[in-house]
C-alpha cells in the first residue's frame, strides 16, 4: 500500500533517493573498457567466455571507446611507452568512472622491476580496486567487479570523485 506522496499521486509512482536509483542502474550495467596489454588480457578472455561469463554481473558490454565506458580494467604490464596512452584514455572517459588494476604488473610492476616498466599504474591514474595474481584467475577478476559494485552503491551525485589525484603526468 502506498503511503505519503506516493498515495496522493496514485499508481505508478514511487519515491526514492536520487543516489539510490542512479547507483542501482550504474552498478548493474558497468560498461568496461578493457585496456589489455599482456597475459592478464588472456585471463580476461576467459572471464568473458561462457564458463565464467561476466554477463552474470551485467558487465558484458565491452566498450572499446573510452567515451562509452565507465569501468577501466587495466589488464597487463604498463610500460613507460604505454603510460601516456593510458592516461589519455582515462581522461577521455566521462565521470563517473572506476578503475580496476588487474594483476601484479599493473598494480606494482610485478616481476619487472626495471628501466621500462611503470611501477604501478597508480602513479599515472587513480585506482579503485587492485587484483593480485600473475595472472589473476577469472574468479579474482569477477571479485574485483563485485567490489566495484559495492563502491558504486556508496557513491553520491553530490560528491566529485578523485579530484585530488596527482600522477606523474599531472
Amino acid at each position: 500500500m502506498a503511503l505519503g506522496i506516493e498515495a496522493r499521486l496514485g499508481e505508478g509512482f514511487l519515491t526514492t533517493k536520487l543516489d539510490a536509483v542512479l547507483n542501482w542502474g550504474r552498478e548493474n550495467s558497468l560498461w568496461p573498457y578493457v585496456f589489455g596489454t599482456a597475459c592478464c588480457a588472456i585471463e580476461f578472455m576467459s572471464t568473458a567466455a561462457s564458463q565464467f561469463d561476466i554477463a552474470r554481473f551485467g558487465a558484458e558490454v565491452l566498450r572499446y571507446s573510452p567515451r562509452q565506458a565507465d569501468l577501466l580494467m587495466v589488464c597487463g604490464t604498463i610500460s613507460y611507452k604505454q603510460a601516456p596512452i593510458l592516461k589519455r584514455i582515462y581522461d577521455q572517459m566521462s565521470e563517473p568512472k572506476w578503475v580496476v588494476s588487474v594483476g601484479a604488473c599493473a598494480s606494482t610492476g610485478g616481476m619487472y622491476d626495471n628501466y621500462c616498466t611503470v611501477q604501478g599504474i597508480d602513479t599515472v591514474i587513480p585506482v579503485d580496486v587492485y587484483v593480485a595474481g600473475c595472472p589473476p584467475r577469472p574468479e579474482a577478476i569477477l571479485d574485483a567487479l563485485l567490489k566495484i559494485q559495492d563502491k558504486v552503491r556508496g557513491e553520491s551525485v553530490l560528491n566529485d570523485r578523485q579530484k585530488d589525484f596527482k600522477g606523474i603526468f599531472d
Binding site: 599482456a38 585471463e43 561462457s50 604490464t77 610500460s79 604505454q82 626495471n114
Partner: protein
C-alpha cells in the same frame, strides 16, 4: 653435416676465422667484407642461407676475458632446406661509425638492426630507417649496454607522431601530393592502436588511405617492452624460467622448454628419456592451445563469434589438465635445467585423451562453420598474399612460412627429442594468403594430436631429472641428512647452474615459428647476455609489405592470422 659445411665455408672464406660451435658454423669477419660475406652466404647455392633469423649485439664491457673490441654484432642465418645454421660475428670498432647494413639483402634486417641500434647504440651504415623500436622516442641512452643501470626508468611524456615516417613511406611507394590532386581527393591517415580491440595487445598501425585502400603503412611496437633481456642478465639461469612464461603467454610451456633446451645443449646435459617424451607431449599440447587461441581470435575478428565459443571453450577446458599438472593456468614455469619440475600425475593419460577428443570435436565444429563458408572465403582467400620469397626475406618461420609453401620445420630438419621417431606431416599452403595461414593451423592441430597419441604409447618410465649434482637439485631427503647434498643445494640456489664461457644459439620449433635463444656466458651462474629470437617480431616487420594495396578491413584479418603476441614481440 656441419663438418662438411664447415669445410665448405672455410674454403669459401679463407681469410675469415671459422669455427664449429654446437651445430652451427661461426664465422668472424671484418666490417669491410661483411656485405660481400653475407651476400655470398645468401646467394651461393652451396650455403643457401636465405633466412636471416636474428641480428643482435654484444657489449663486452664487463666481460672477464678481454676482447678485441667492446661491441660485436652477430647475424644468425639459416638455410631453410637443410637447416644449416651460420653465425656471422662482426667486431665493431666504433659504435658511432657502425658497420654496413644488411637491409639490401634481407627485409628482416630492417627491424633486427633497428633493435640492435636501440638496445646497444650501434649504427648501421646505409640503413634507411634507423630509429628506436622497443624503447620510446624520448628515451636517452641504450639499455642493454652494460653501463646502463637496470633501474633507470625514463618517463615518456608524449607519443611519437610518426608523421615523417608515414610521409617517407608514401614517398617510397611513389605517392606525393600531385598524384592525389589528380584524383581530386586527399590522403586520409588512420591510426589503429596501440589500444585497439583487434590489435591483440598493444601495436600501433598507422595507415595512409585512399578511400579504403592502404597506400602506405608504418607500424610501431614496443608498448609491451618489459626488459626481459636486461632482467635475465640479473637472474640465475633457473630464475629466468618464470620470465620465459610471459614471452608467448598463449603457450607458456613451449617457451620454458625452448629456454632450458638452449641451456642444456650448451652444458652438454642429456636429459632422461621420460623427460624428453614429456617435453614432446607438452610441446604439442601447447602448440594446440596456441593455435586454438589464434584461430578463435582471428575468426572472431572477422565476424565469426561462434567459432570463439567452440574453440576457446576447449582451451578453457584444458586448463583443468594444465592446472592439475603444473599448478598454474597460464604461467606454467614447468621446466628446470636438467629436467621437468615434476612427473605427470597418476592417471594423466585418460585426462589427456579426453582433452584431445574434446579439442578435436571443437575444431571439427568450427571447421564445419568455416570450411565451406562463402563469407570466410571472400574475406580470406587471395587476401594479403605473401609469396615464399618475400616471407623468407622478412624472416618468417613457423605456420606463416609454411602457409607460403616452404616446408620449413625444425622438428623435421634438425630433429630434437626423438622427433624423427614420430610419424607426422608438415602441412603447407599454396598461396600464402590469410586462408592458408588459418588452414595450416587447423591441420597442425590434428598433426599435433597425432604426435601426442604416438608419444603416449611410447613414453617410458623413469626419472624426469638428471642426477648430475652440478645441474639438478639433490632430493630434499638428502639435503636434510648429508652435508654434500646440502652444499650442492646451497650452491645451485645461490650461484645458479654454472655454464662454460662462450656464445651459442639454439632454436626450437614453437607454435609461432622458430623461437631461438642467443646466449653469452662468462662462466658464472647468470647469463652475461640472453637474447630471444621471437618469431612474431619478424612477422610484424613484414606486415607493411603484406597490407599495402589491400583494404583497411583486411588489416584485421591479416593481423589475426599472423598471431602476434605482445609479450614475445616486445619482450
Amino acid at each position: 653435416m656441419t663438418t662438411t659445411a664447415l669445410q665448405n665455408i672455410q674454403t669459401a672464406f679463407p681469410d675469415a676465422d671459422c669455427r664449429e660451435n654446437m651445430g652451427s658454423v661461426v664465422l668472424t669477419v671484418q666490417p669491410d667484407v661483411l656485405e660481400a660475406s653475407l651476400a655470398k652466404l645468401k646467394n651461393d647455392p652451396q650455403f643457401g642461407c636465405s633466412l636471416l633469423l636474428d641480428v643482435t649485439g654484444i657489449d663486452f664491457l664487463t666481460y672477464p676475458t678481454p676482447q678485441p673490441t667492446r661491441f660485436v654484432v652477430v647475424y644468425i642465418l639459416r638455410n631453410p632446406e637443410n637447416g644449416l645454421q651460420v653465425q656471422v660475428r662482426v667486431p665493431v670498432a666504433d659504435p658511432e661509425k657502425g658497420i654496413p647494413s644488411a637491409t639490401k639483402l634481407w627485409g628482416s634486417a630492417i627491424w633486427g638492426e633497428r633493435e640492435t641500434y636501440d638496445q646497444y647504440g650501434i649504427h648501421f651504415q646505409g640503413h634507411h630507417d634507423l630509429r628506436r623500436i622497443l624503447n620510446h622516442w624520448q628515451f636517452v641512452g641504450h639499455p642493454l649496454r652494460k653501463d646502463y643501470d637496470i633501474y633507470q626508468g625514463q618517463i615518456c611524456y608524449e607519443t611519437d607522431p610518426l608523421e615523417n615516417e608515414i610521409k617517407a613511406r608514401l614517398k617510397y611507394n611513389g605517392i606525393d601530393d600531385t598524384s592525389m590532386a589528380e584524383l581530386h581527393t586527399e590522403i586520409m591517415y588512420l591510426n589503429m592502436g596501440p589500444a585497439h580491440p583487434a590489435t591483440h595487445g598493444a601495436i600501433r598501425i598507422l595507415t595512409a588511405l585512399d578511400g579504403e585502400t592502404i597506400l602506405a603503412n608504418v607500424n610501431e611496437i614496443g608498448y609491451l617492452h618489459r626488459g626481459f633481456e636486461k632482467t635475465a642478465e640479473h637472474r640465475t639461469y633457473n630464475q629466468v624460467v618464470p620470465l620465459t612464461d610471459r614471452l608467448n603467454y598463449c603457450s607458456a610451456l613451449m617457451n620454458n622448454i625452448a629456454y632450458v633446451k638452449a641451456v642444456e645443449s650448451w652444458l652438454g646435459v642429456e636429459i632422461t628419456e621420460r623427460a624428453k617424451f614429456m617435453r614432446v607431449i607438452l610441446s604439442e599440447f601447447f602448440r594446440i592451445q596456441d593455435h586454438l587461441v589464434c584461430l578463435a581470435a582471428n575468426l572472431l575478428d572477422i565476424g565469426g563469434l561462434t567459432n570463439y565459443w567452440y574453440l576457446y571453450n576447449q582451451k578453457e577446458a584444458s586448463y583443468d589438465f594444465i592446472s592439475r599438472l603444473t599448478g598454474g593456468r597460464l604461467t606454467t614455469s614447468f621446466t628446470r635445467i636438467g629436467g621437468m619440475y615434476r612427473d605427470f600425475y597418476e592417471g594423466w593419460q585418460a585426462d589427456m585423451e579426453q582433452q584431445l577428443c574434446d579439442i578435436e570435436m571443437g575444431v571439427a565444429d568450427s571447421l564445419k562453420l568455416v570450411q565451406k563458408n562463402r563469407i570466410v572465403h571472400d574475406r580470406t582467400q587471395g587476401v594479403c598474399v605473401f609469396p615464399a620469397e618475400k616471407a623468407l626475406s622478412y624472416g618468417f618461420t613457423g605456420p606463416c612460412l609454411r602457409a607460403s609453401g616452404v616446408p620449413f620445420d625444425l622438428r623435421k630438419i634438425r630433429p630434437y627429442y626423438n622427433y624423427d621417431a614420430f610419424d607426422f606431416s608438415i602441412p603447407v599452403g599454396s598461396q600464402g594468403d590469410v586462408y592458408d595461414r588459418i588452414m595450416v593451423r587447423f591441420e597442425e592441430i590434428y598433426q599435433s594430436a597425432s604426435i601426442i597419441r604416438q608419444a603416449m604409447k611410447m613414453v617410458p618410465e623413469g626419472p624426469v631429472f638428471v642426477s648430475n649434482v652440478r645441474v639438478a637439485l639433490p632430493p630434499k631427503q638428502e639435503v636434510y641428512s648429508n652435508i654434500e647434498a646440502l652444499a650442492g643445494h646451497f650452491k645451485l640456489i645461490f650461484e645458479g647452474v654454472r655454464t662454460p664461457p662462450g656464445e651459442w644459439y639454439d632454436g626450437y620449433e614453437a607454435a609461432n615459428g622458430e623461437l631461438g635463444f642467443y646466449f653469452v656466458s662468462d662462466g658464472s651462474g647468470t647469463p652475461y647476455k640472453c637474447k630471444v629470437r621471437p618469431p612474431c617480431f619478424y612477422m610484424m616487420g613484414g606486415f607493411h609489405k603484406m597490407i599495402e594495396g589491400s583494404m583497411i578491413a583486411d588489416v584485421i584479418a591479416n593481423l589475426g592470422s599472423l598471431n602476434i603476441i605482445g609479450g614475445e614481440l616486445d619482450r
